[in-house]
């Protein structure tokens, strides 16, 4: 009662579920789009780094012939993921490519041998998805299958999934939270996957829960996706619970979703495992099922191609490594007023200027914005309206952090917890003065990390000089 009154008066700031923003997502129309197969491709370019961590190490010999699903690169570092080829063909030597996130990495082009029959979505989802008993497929076997298949988080961060499922932390995992929120505007791949392939997702969910030892299993979906919720409810069996959450960006961010669903706060410098939770995306869950039950490596994914600049928006089931331009072509190209192509969603995605860049495991969508939809206001002074504080899902003071970053005051940047920012962009989205708040904070985080690293190195050197000879 007192808490409710305090929340109403805003004494503790806006309650968590009312924070964030609600950009126009245009989802109602997009949610009607059935998943389509992307056209057959002549060539894929497979980057060796499509995941968080270290690049995979090339194993396929130049000019060698590969079959569908053959290994191209092995994960040798502790945090890395394997890369497989989605098509049969010949390796045409390593090249360097620039990914949509700006990273320059080594990649392996594979040229199709003959126009063979590509993997279709109908085939990918078909069959019996009953999960065998633990005696036949134990937790270790699931993790091994996931690792062998090169599965990474498909929500965007692309963290290797086998590491998530076998975290090995001090605190045991009690809850598996499956993230079907898909809060970015325009993106509907996860929702369509739930509508058209709920049994695959649920099989993966069951396997993931088995692997990480979670007894409680929740699937969270935003309330603007009724068809996905209905499909899940029809197919889900205990202990899987379907949780409907408020449609609010960034509900899909795990630091926001975990408090909203479970009431647990993830420590700012920690991870969900610190509060006994493992979070996987619904697309990742489907890939876990494909890896463990079909031995299919992660070679395909769903991509939403949408936005006012796309002629015919679609949800495509596509091989990884195809060029981003070919996906836009498959959707009828762009309109005359198209101005910006974004890999990912419009709130956190990266602009693409080179459409020959290959599709990677972590790219969930291609959004094309036109002149009318782009933010264009001129920047003004901060009038301390507090809108950024009200929307910040992590309860930070973005205007303070951004000012500290702009003026290079790292002491103030730390005092206002700049490194805690998850860069969701709600602050810049609402700012009436059009201040690029999250952009400034992002730059400040890079500076703060660099400065800290140098200070640590300097301290280590000083320690050796002072005490090393004694």
């Amino acid at each position: 009662m007192i808490a409710a009154l305090a929340a109403l008066l805003g004494l503790g700031g806006r309650p968590a579920t009312r924070r964030g923003v609600h950009p126009r997502g245009h989802k109602a129309e997009l949610l009607e789009l059935a998943i389509e197969d992307a056209p057959a491709c002549q060539e894929v370019i497979l980057p060796l780094q499509q995941h968080a961590g270290r690049p995979a190490v090339l194993t396929a010999k130049p000019r060698s012939e590969l079959e569908v699903g053959d290994l191209v690169a092995e994960a040798e570092a502790a945090i890395s993921a394997r890369v497989h080829t989605p098509i049969a063909g010949r390796v045409v030597g390593p090249v360097a490519v620039t990914l949509s996130n700006g990273r320059r990495v080594t990649a392996v082009p594979v040229r199709a041998r003959e126009p063979g029959e590509p993997l279709r979505f109908s085939e990918w989802r078909s069959g019996d998805w009953t999960v065998p008993g633990t005696n036949l497929l134990g937790p270790q076997a699931v993790v091994a299958a996931v690792q062998a298949a090169g599965v990474v988080g498909l929500g965007g961060a692309a963290f290797p999934t086998h590491l998530k499922l076998a975290p090995g932390g001090a605190r045991p995992i009690d809850t598996l939270l499956v993230n079907g929120c898909e809060c970015e505007p325009f993106l509907v791949s996860d929702a369509r996957l739930l509508v058209e392939a709920a049994p695959v997702v649920l099989a993966g969910v069951e396997l993931a829960a088995r692997a990480c030892g979670a007894s409680r299993v929740l699937i969270a979906v935003e309330d603007d996706k009724p068809a996905a919720i209905a499909a899940l409810r029809a197919a889900a069996k205990p202990p899987v619970e379907v949780v409907v959450v408020r449609t609010r960006y960034p509900m899909g961010a795990e630091r926001v979703l975990i408090p909203a669903v479970l009431g647990r706060e993830v420590p700012t410098t920690g991870y969900p495992t610190d509060v006994g939770v493992v979070v996987v995306n619904v697309g990742t869950a489907a890939s876990i099922a494909q890896a463990a039950l079909r031995e299919r490596p992660l070679t395909h994914r769903l991509v939403t191609v949408a936005g006012p600049g796309v002629v015919r928006p679609a949800v495509l089931f596509t091989p990884l490594g195809v060029s981003l331009g070919s996906l836009i072509e498959a959707c009828g190209g762009v309109t005359a007023s198209a101005r910006r192509v974004i890999a990912g969603g419009p709130m956190m995605g990266f602009t693409v200027t080179d459409l020959s860049a290959p599709l990677t495991k972590g790219t969930s969508g291609l959004v094309v914005l036109d002149d009318s939809s782009l933010a264009s206001a001129a920047e003004g002074p901060c009038i301390r309206c507090g809108a950024c504080l009200d929307v910040c899902p992590l309860h930070l003071a973005p205007t303070r952090i951004a000012l500290a970053a702009r003026t290079g005051r790292l002491d103030l940047f730390d005092r206002h917890h700049g490194l805690a920012c998850c860069e969701c962009g709600c602050c810049a989205f609402v700012c009436p003065a059009a201040i690029p708040l999250v952009q400034l904070i992002r730059a400040g985080k890079a500076t703060a990390r660099r400065t800290r690293r140098r200070a640590i190195e300097a301290a280590a050197v000083a320690a050796i000089f002072e005490h090393g000879g004694a």
Binding site: E29, E329, C385, L389, H467
Partner: protein
């Protein structure tokens, strides 16, 4: 998609891919809420003040219109000059200078000379805002700075209240002065503006209507308003309970002096109030508390101006005390002494302190 007409590709032609030169690059987010910016909020507040300005002219006649025009013109001219001197693009268009001028004029008595009003407006924008670096940088409410300057320069003229002309209203001192022993203004007289006072302070109905518009349009936060009026009402009720019939009463305190003008149009200024919602409550309550302290315990009949300026001064402190706690707890203080360095360092006191 989103109802926008779309040029379909001509039959049989290949899909168009964008020319790389036609694409731009920027960092996320790529969308914005699309409000028209700061100017919209300022215009909303100006519209909200319109009823009070109209009532000022109705109650006090053409002289009030002269005051309003002089103050706005002087404020805008000062803003333009300041931008010129600072070699910055002019910011007259954001409406904040006009708002400062209008607020200042509405807080002045009609008997003041228009020259003094103009001087006040120049000081308000010049010393209240421009010297700090313009909009967003000023710690004190510019209109109240201008009024404080005039109160110091023209103490007699600034406390001479004229009864509204042509209306059968109240005569004598402001009801706040008259309260002790003298006749007490009725609630209706206070709300309708038939009491002596500053230009914009006398008509409670106009202020409440305009203020409701401002809050409804979210051009100002309602929390400082509620905090200030709540504090005034609470303390006035306490006074009434202790002093009985000798007290002026809750309605008289809320409806007289600059209380309503301050609550709806001055403490709602985002620049000079705290950032966090909780801090805005504290700020509003602090203004209300100081107003009542000045009214009940001080020798000055009206305290809104000083209350606002004093509370403005402690906004940095309020901001610090009400800084939001990050979800997941504060970041650990940065440690620049790594474990490796500690391992190298020998245990015991450092060499400098050893004999």
């Amino acid at each position: 998609m989103s109802g926008t007409p779309k040029e379909p590709a001509p039959e049989g032609s290949a899909p168009i891919l964008p020319e790389p030169s036609a694409l731009d690059a920027a960092t996320s987010p790529h969308l914005a809420v699309g409000t028209a910016g700061i100017g919209t909020a300022m215009r909303d507040v100006l519209v909200g003040l319109a009823p009070a300005a109209v009532m000022a002219v109705v109650l006090f006649g053409g002289r009030a219109a002269v005051h309003l025009a002089v103050a706005v013109a002087a404020a805008v001219a000062t803003e333009a000059l300041a931008c010129r001197l600072r070699r910055r693009p002019t910011t007259v268009g954001d409406g904040s200078a006009a708002l400062t001028g209008l607020l200042l004029a509405l807080s002045l008595p009609v008997s003041l000379s228009p020259g003094a009003t103009a001087l006040g407006a120049v000081v308000a924008v010049g010393l209240g805002k421009a010297v700090f670096g313009g909009l967003g940088q000023n710690p004190f409410n510019p209109a109240m700075v201008g009024r404080a300057f005039l109160a110091a320069c023209f103490p007699v003229a600034m406390t001479t209240w004229v009864e509204p002309a042509g209306l059968d209203g109240w005569s004598g001192a402001t009801p706040l002065v008259a309260g002790d022993g003298g006749p007490v203004a009725t609630a209706w007289q206070l709300l309708g503006g038939r009491v002596p006072g500053s230009l914009g302070e006398t008509s409670g109905i106009a202020l409440v209507a305009g203020g409701a518009f401002v809050l409804f349009r979210r051009a100002g936060d309602w929390r400082p308003t509620a905090g200030m009026l709540g504090a005034i009402a609470g303390i006035a009720a306490l006074e009434a309970f202790i002093r009985g019939s000798a007290a002026r009463g809750v309605v008289a305190h809320l409806g007289s002096g600059g209380a309503l003008l301050g609550a709806f149009f001055i403490v709602t200024d985002p620049v000079t109030s705290p950032l966090a919602r909780s801090g805005r409550w504290v700020f509003g309550a602090l203004v209300g508390g100081i107003v009542m302290a000045i009214r009940l315990g001080g020798s000055y009949p009206e305290g809104v101006m000083y209350a606002v300026l004093l509370a403005n001064a402690v906004v940095p402190l309020i901001d610090r005390l009400t800084a939001p706690r990050p979800l997941g707890g504060p970041m650990a203080p940065p440690s620049i002494v790594p474990a490796a360095a500690l391992a190298v360092a020998p245990p015991g006191p450092p060499a400098e302190t050893a004999p």
